[in-house]
């Protein structure tokens, strides 16, 4: 009887120790697998040369009032529009309660005349129309995305359609009165 009891006890003890070693080993291999997976996941993120190309300087001199130019920054189009007085006033007069993504016009510009936006629709990434005077500019005089019908106003804010957010404002700074650096 005593022998049987000891055997059972010893067996039970062995099992718990074994379980611990087993779990610890499994845990370590999970950590190891994650450590190996990380470089591969990171491998697919933007590389150093892609990151290095992340600023663009733009000369604003040739842009007259009411005109717009498109420049490339990080492979994406950036819209630079020199707004007319009327466009600025319309944008400023909009009530925040009318906006799906409320933002004042003043918060979206450095100088009211110059509107700088990433020209990528926040829905699924198409380039909205409205840079050329002949383009459709949507119901709010800004930009219109032909892919899925989003309308943006003269401050690049979403007013109608499936896009969830306003056109993004990229980080930029005025180097002098007529030059900006994007990025």
């Amino acid at each position: 009887m005593a022998e049987a009891a000891t055997a059972t006890k010893g067996h039970a003890e062995g099992e718990t120790r074994r379980d611990f070693i087993y779990l610890a080993a499994m845990g370590m291999s999970a950590v190891g697998a994650a450590a190996v997976a990380w470089p591969f996941i990171s491998f697919m993120n933007p590389s150093a040369d892609v990151l290095a190309l992340s600023t663009t300087e733009v000369d604003l001199k040739p842009v007259l009032e009411g005109m717009a130019i498109t420049v490339t920054w990080r492979g994406k189009p950036v819209f630079v529009r020199r707004r007319t007085k009327a466009e600025v006033d319309t944008a400023a007069a909009v009530k925040l309660t009318d906006l799906p993504d409320p933002e004042t016009d003043a918060a979206r510009v450095k100088k009211p005349e110059w509107l700088v936006l990433v020209g990528v629709c926040t829905h699924l990434g198409c380039v909205p129309l409205g840079q050329k005077t002949a383009d459709p500019r949507g119901d709010y005089g800004g930009w219109f995305c032909p892919c899925h019908g989003s309308h943006y106003d003269t401050s690049g804010r979403i007013r109608k359609g499936p896009a969830p957010n306003n056109l993004a404002v990229p980080p930029y700074a005025f180097l002098d009165d007529t030059t900006i650096r994007i990025g």
């Binding site: 892609v50 990528v120 990434g125 019908g149």
Partner: protein
């Protein structure tokens, strides 16, 4: 399973050590198959043959293709104009993709009509849905490779779907692109994955076949094989029938490849990609149109993306959504009508997906999207409980033999 007696001594010697010949004899020759399979059962083997065609033409195309944004478009044009028979290999590959989806969609609707997904074939069905998902990923990335306008903007729109994920969406999209827009790193990885995934499909197909051969094919009556009198050996009966179907397919396929090679394509994809100009009307390839319609039917970005993926994921649980014990729609008069409504619904979704989201297309798209989910989530479970099926025949042989006896 008795090992077959091979006449050739070398075959016997090899088979004793590596039983590939017994395996092939067992699975392709004597493999007992229901004797009442209709031509709707041709599409599985046909899909397998098209997969081989796609891999073969794809490997050859890769020998002349350059996965770089500056050279991709021109290397494809070079294949079309300068490479010997390049036009033929490319048109076979391009239209082979469309043919693959036509075949697979018929194969799936066959399964839905005859209840092929019901016990004990649930995993067989699920593996089929996995193959469909892998095919969609492969086709999408393949379409990007020629680097035309539709390639570029299709890639932009589809990868942007992931930006709908809350919080991490934008980082996921940057990670997928390897940059801040669809660019050279994106094209490179899409080429690598487009070459890899077909072999993953081959793996899934092998599992699909292992699961198939466990219980054998279902059949138009949807009743189990009850004995040897209900089945015939696969060879020569179904090898012959499959070969005949293949002949018909090849006539149609050659017709498209030689006389209308751009029938399924978009003319805009013969314009080189321009990251600054979105074409006025972006449409995906025809086989994605119904999903695209579902995406656009829902005015919210995240919910639209969820509905689009949900429309495929719902197929995974069809074996458990359908509560009916009777497999074949032949004996389910009400279900049969709704099955055809679903088929029409999918065509309507495809038509809506091909058109701009304006006017009445929006309403029709929303109604069709509603019906799609209604069919799977409400109709299948409820109909199985309330429908009274027609009486089932005694066996597969019975309906064949009875009229003959009556005549005699």
């Amino acid at each position: 399973m008795a090992a077959p007696a091979f006449n050739n001594a070398l075959v016997r010697w090899i088979d004793h050590r590596l039983p590939v010949f017994s395996f092939m004899h067992h699975e392709l020759h004597e493999y007992p198959t229901p004797k009442n399979l209709s031509y709707w059962w041709n599409f599985g083997s046909l899909a397998g043959i098209v997969l081989v065609l796609m891999i073969l033409t794809g490997v050859f195309l890769a020998m002349h293709y350059t996965p770089h944004t500056a050279f991709a478009f021109e290397s494809v044009e070079r294949i079309m104009r300068d490479v010997n028979y390049g036009w033929l290999v490319r048109y076979m590959h391009m239209n082979g993709g469309s043919a693959f989806f036509i075949i697979i969609y018929i194969h799936i609707f066959r399964g839905l009509y005859y209840g092929s997904y019901k016990a004990p074939r649930e995993l067989l069905w699920i593996l089929g849905v996995v193959i469909l998902l892998l095919m969609m990923a492969t086709a999408f990335m393949g379409y990007v490779l020629p680097w035309g306008q539709m390639s570029f903007w299709g890639a932009t729109v589809i990868t942007n779907l992931f930006s709908a994920i809350p919080l991490i969406g934008d980082s996921v999209v940057t990670w997928l692109w390897g940059g801040f827009s669809v660019d050279n790193p994106t094209l490179n990885r899409f080429f690598a994955l487009h070459y890899l995934l077909p072999f993953a499909i081959v793996g899934a197909v092998v599992l699909h076949l292992v699961a198939l051969h466990r219980f054998g094919s279902s059949n138009p009556l949807g009743i189990d094989v009850k004995g040897p009198q209900d089945s015939i050996p696969f060879h020569p009966y179904y090898t012959a029938k499959d070969a005949f179907g293949l002949g018909i397919f090849l006539i149609l396929f050659a017709g498209v490849v030689f006389f209308a090679p751009n029938l399924f394509g978009e003319p805009d994809n013969y314009i080189p990609a321009n990251p600054l100009v979105t074409p006025p009307h972006i449409v995906p390839e025809w086989y994605f149109l119904p999903y695209y319609a579902i995406l656009r039917a829902i005015p919210d970005k995240l919910l639209g993306v969820i509905a689009m993926f949900g429309s495929i994921l719902v197929l995974f649980i069809v074996p458990w959504l359908d509560t009916a014990r009777v497999r074949s729609a032949k004996f389910r008069p009400t279900f049969r009508k709704f099955f055809w409504v679903l088929v029409v619904d999918c065509f309507v979704l495809g038509y809506v997906g091909a058109n701009p989201p304006e006017g009445w297309f929006v309403i029709v798209g929303q109604v069709a999207t509603f019906y799609y989910f209604f069919h799977f989530l409400i109709l299948l479970p409820v109909l199985g409980l309330i429908e009274r099926p027609l009486p089932l025949p005694q066996s597969i042989s019975a309906p064949v033999l009875k009229p003959a006896e009556g005549k005699a």
